[in-house]
């Protein structure tokens, strides 16, 4: 059964059609890449799944649940975590605390409980230990106590990844994880994504321009152009699709 079912999703901003009847499924445990030229609507789809945007039409189901019936803050609790293309870290917190934020939906304690302190202390320690082990896993232990600002771009991206993992998601959405990384870092990132998928039993939805990485790690590729899907299949199949080649290279006139 498909984990995420995107069906006929349409998003318009004024007169601009960002998504136009987009339909595709993601199977559980697969790495699915969403590719297409800039402005194709990939990030818009991420924002729809995160419930930051309300689609004008279509339906969105996650493990059988209608996501469009839920508010944005409930999405993390459903088991969906994401990173952002332009980073969305909290500079006023340490790296460790940023990762702990990721576990917000999995933990309890309101204003009173947290003010009184005692009842939540053990869960706080668990969250901290868990976040610390994620940081170690991603080679970030050394920066754990540093503010989450002014660190190298690649490091900040990995911190965001750690924060998303702290939510223990079923679906991990990565928005251009390889952008701004060096060649070596990209290769390493590809291996990391595959390893995390196996280790945490994740389903991964990936927006990426780095074709080398997309083709090497993904099992499923969805190609978009102007808010529509133009191809959908395994990487080798999609790479030879004339519509895809036309979208990327242009048609000879």
């Amino acid at each position: 059964m498909a984990l995420l079912e995107v069906e006929g999703i349409g998003v318009r901003f004024g007169g601009v059609v960002a998504l136009d009847g987009l339909t595709f499924d993601i199977a559980e445990h697969e790495i699915c890449a969403l590719i297409g030229p800039n402005g194709a609507g990939k990030t818009t789809l991420f924002n729809v799944v995160s419930r930051l945007y309300d689609p004008d039409e279509g339906s969105l189901r996650f493990a059988g649940t209608d996501l469009l019936a839920l508010p944005a803050h409930a999405i993390a609790g459903m088991g969906i975590a994401r990173t952002f293309q332009n980073l969305a870290l909290v500079p006023g917190l340490t790296v460790l605390e940023n990762v702990m934020i990721g576990a917000h939906a999995r933990t309890n304690g309101g204003f009173w409980g947290c003010s009184l302190g005692l009842p939540v202390r053990s869960s706080e320690r668990r969250t901290r230990d868990d976040a610390m082990s994620l940081l170690s896993d991603l080679g970030l232990a050394a920066v754990a106590q540093r503010p989450a600002a002014g660190l190298p771009y690649g490091t900040l991206k990995r911190i965001e990844l750690a924060r998303a993992l702290a939510a223990r998601p079923r679906l991990l959405m990565l928005d251009e994880p390889a952008s701004g990384l060096t060649h070596g870092e990209v290769a390493e990132l590809g291996a990391t994504i595959r390893r995390l998928r196996d280790e945490f039993e994740l389903t991964v939805l990936l927006v990426e321009h780095h074709m080398g990485m997309v083709m090497s790690i993904s099992e499923h590729v969805v190609v978009m152009e102007f808010g529509r899907k133009i191809a959908d299949g395994v990487p080798t199949e999609v790479a030879e699709d004339p519509a895809v080649i036309a979208a990327y290279l242009g048609t000879p006139s």
């Binding site: 969305a88 917000h104 947290c114 106590q145 503010p147």
Partner: protein
């Protein structure tokens, strides 16, 4: 400082402060009590503005609400001071939530302007409700001639009576009123600061900072942004109102001139000066603000706002993190130097410098 040393210093300071009222004049004790109420009110402001990023220029109104609630309940309804305090905090929480709701739609400068309106409006409302509040002259918390005569008042059809004459030290303590007041304030301030400290170090505290710095990130992580903002505003107003209770108890009188925009600005100065996103910040800031006013000669008091303004500008330019931020920076640089000297010394290996839990972090309190 290591955590243990920090607690030791904290303990020593506490003991010194507890002993101090036995050795100093009552005016000095009252000055310390004043610092405490300003600190508590500034703590409320620091929570909503420093940690949560909702700028309020109107927290003086919540202090006034607490002070007037205390006055009316104790004087007109004979409610004990403790109960009046609880009512003042709970009432201000409700008012704070009511103000916080529209604040969801506006942020930044616009919110600052709306709360500024609150600060301007409060004295006006007090004057309009002269029947209860005593209008422009205000009212005393002490008995007035004839007020103690309950039978006479009932005969006159008035429900006004006086259960107690101001906030007096119970006989068993053997303390003077000012000393008793200071101890009560100290305990209240300690409780308020500890609760807020716990809060800021918890998942809720992290979510408040996340909302301040990046609302989308907070929401995607599962934070109920709107709910958190409204409750924070309410809690913050409740804490400020506790400061108002302390004001009424300390001064035994309330009048609209005490709760003008000047008070709101003073609280903001105290919070920012100390370090708005820190726990001891409001206490440090309140001490500076109260003592600064002390050193300005009485006939020059009208210039105290000018002095605050200048001090605020200097602090913002030199140390945006306030006095506490300055201290943390100094501590961090000393630590780095110390670590460096230790590392270069004989017999040390590089791996000895492990991840120190005490590196200054944005949310770690000094």
């Amino acid at each position: 400082m290591s955590t243990r040393l920090r607690w030791a210093v904290f303990g020593v300071v506490l003991v010194v402060l507890a002993a101090l009222p036995q050795f100093v004049a009552d005016t000095f004790v009252n000055r310390m009590s004043e610092i405490l109420w300003v600190a508590v009110a500034a703590l409320g402001l620091a929570l909503v503005t420093g940690y949560n990023g909702q700028i309020s220029l109107g927290h003086g109104a919540f202090v006034g609400f607490g002070a007037y609630t205390t006055m009316v309940l104790t004087v007109d309804y004979g409610v004990p001071f403790a109960v009046a305090g609880l009512a003042a905090v709970a009432g201000a929480f409700v008012v704070g939530v009511a103000v916080g709701l529209p604040a969801l739609r506006i942020t930044g400068v616009y919110l600052a302007l709306v709360t500024l309106g609150l600060a301007v409006l409060f004295p006006q409302i007090v004057v309009r409700l002269g029947e209860i509040t005593g209008g422009t002259v205000g009212r005393q918390l002490l008995p007035r001639p004839g007020y103690g005569d309950t039978a006479l008042l009932e005969e006159l059809g008035q429900r006004r009576y006086l259960a107690q004459a101001g906030f007096r030290a119970p006989a068993w303590t053997g303390l003077a009123d000012d000393q008793w007041r200071f101890y009560v304030f100290g305990v209240l301030a300690l409780v308020a600061f500890m609760l807020v400290r716990n809060l800021t170090r918890s998942r809720v505290g992290r979510s408040l900072v996340a909302i301040r710095d990046n609302e989308t990130a907070a929401e995607v992580a599962g934070v109920r942004v709107d709910q958190a903002k409204v409750i924070t505003f309410g809690v913050s107003a409740g804490i400020a109102s506790l400061g108002g209770w302390m004001f009424a108890v300390l001064n035994n009188a309330v009048s609209p001139t005490s709760f003008t925009i000047t008070l709101s600005i003073t609280l903001l100065v105290a919070a920012v000066l100390g370090g708005a996103a820190s726990i001891v910040g409001p206490l440090v800031g309140a001490s500076v603000v109260v003592l600064l006013r002390e050193v300005i000669p009485a006939e020059q008091q009208r210039f105290s706002q000018v002095v605050f303004g200048v001090v605020l500008i200097i602090v913002m330019l030199v140390a945006p993190g306030g006095i506490v931020g300055l201290y943390r920076r100094a501590e961090a640089s000393l630590r780095r130097r110390w670590l460096a000297s230790r590392q270069s010394g004989p017999g040390r290996t590089g791996d000895a410098v492990d991840q120190d839990q005490d590196l200054p972090t944005p949310l770690q309190e000094a």
